[in-house]
Amino acid sequence: MLISLRNVEKSYPHGVGRTYVLRRVNVDIKEGEFVSIMGPSGAGKSTLLHILGMHDSAWSGEYYFMDQPVHRLNPKQRSELHKKHIGFVFQSYHLLDNLTVYENLEIPLSYRNVSRKDRQSMVGDILDRFQIVGKKDLYPNQLSGGQQQLVGVARAVIANPQVILADEPTGNLHIGPRQRNHGAVPIAERKRGDDRPGDPFGSERVVRHADHPAARRLGRWKN
């Protein structure tokens, strides 16, 4: 099992009681599965993704990632595990404003002991795949929202992680045919051997492509 959650809960103290953001979440995700998480605003979708992405450590329950008990790991071990295996697309892009597109794409590689020469090659390759070579020397504030999101997606996949977690990654994207085949979300499809072109970015299609029935239950996870 790639990801396994057992009774994961996250709550905040609120007056004399507690407000639960997530309650008793149990889910298993196998390698190669493409899972969509849907739910109303405030259901805890982003919270769950940040727990899965190991950005959030203030929760209770059991989380097994590639059979490793994340709930028992110290922050350094979690960071190592996250660094090796997870790419994360943030809802609000989170590009660094003082760095160019090229430098933003280079960041994940610089923390993975990739040599300078290999970094150049990998960044060049991803710029080409996403058709943003011409933007490499621009700063995020010189890009449109869609272009920033595209860079955010490119940054998440550049280190070729085994798991890609994407928090509403497609809202601002305007995707051309080439990017469909080589770009962001289709990577999940390619991983399961499905490389057909199409429009995987529409929410209907994302849901239809989701392998996991539990993906549609998030609205009920919150009590």
């Binding site: 350094k76 960071s79 660094k83 923390y111 940054r155």
Partner: protein
């Protein structure tokens, strides 16, 4: 054998120190305030970068990477610039203090080197202090 000039210099310096403890206290206070100010500015400038630090950590940076980022950039950038400006100002103002100094030149290289070293260490400490980089490094 002590010449009259040496004797007067020694007696004059000792007398100045004993006669004017207030000056020494003010000097110590000024040094303390300068160090505290420098530390605060450096800690603030690092704290301003919490968002960047958080993003970098989400992309794989370890706490040690963040600490070295703050230390390296701060010390090499604004810290060095502040040191250069401070040294230039101190050299220019040193002539005014000439008449108040005993047994030491207004441009004494050892004094300047010592003060610069102390200021640089405070600046570096500000970059990795609690509440600054270490605090930001724990941002999740």
């Amino acid at each position: 054998m002590t010449t009259l000039e040496q004797y007067c210099r020694t007696v004059g310096r000792d007398a100045a120190l004993h006669r004017d403890p207030a000056s020494a206290a003010f000097a110590a206070l000024a040094l303390l305030l300068a160090g505290f100010g420098l530390f605060s500015v450096m800690a603030y400038s690092v704290a301003q970068r919490r968002r960047e630090i958080g993003i970098r950590m989400a992309l794989g940076a370890q706490a040690a990477d963040v600490r070295s980022l703050g230390r390296h950039r701060r010390r090499c950038g604004s810290g060095a610039m502040g040191l250069a400006i401070g040294l230039a100002g101190a050299l220019a103002a040193a002539r005014v203090l000439d008449s108040l100094l005993f047994g030491v030149s207004p441009s004494d290289p050892l004094t300047f080197a010592g003060v610069s070293r102390g200021a640089a260490r405070r600046a570096a400490a500000g970059g990795v202090s609690p509440g600054a980089a270490r605090d930001a490094a724990s941002t999740r």
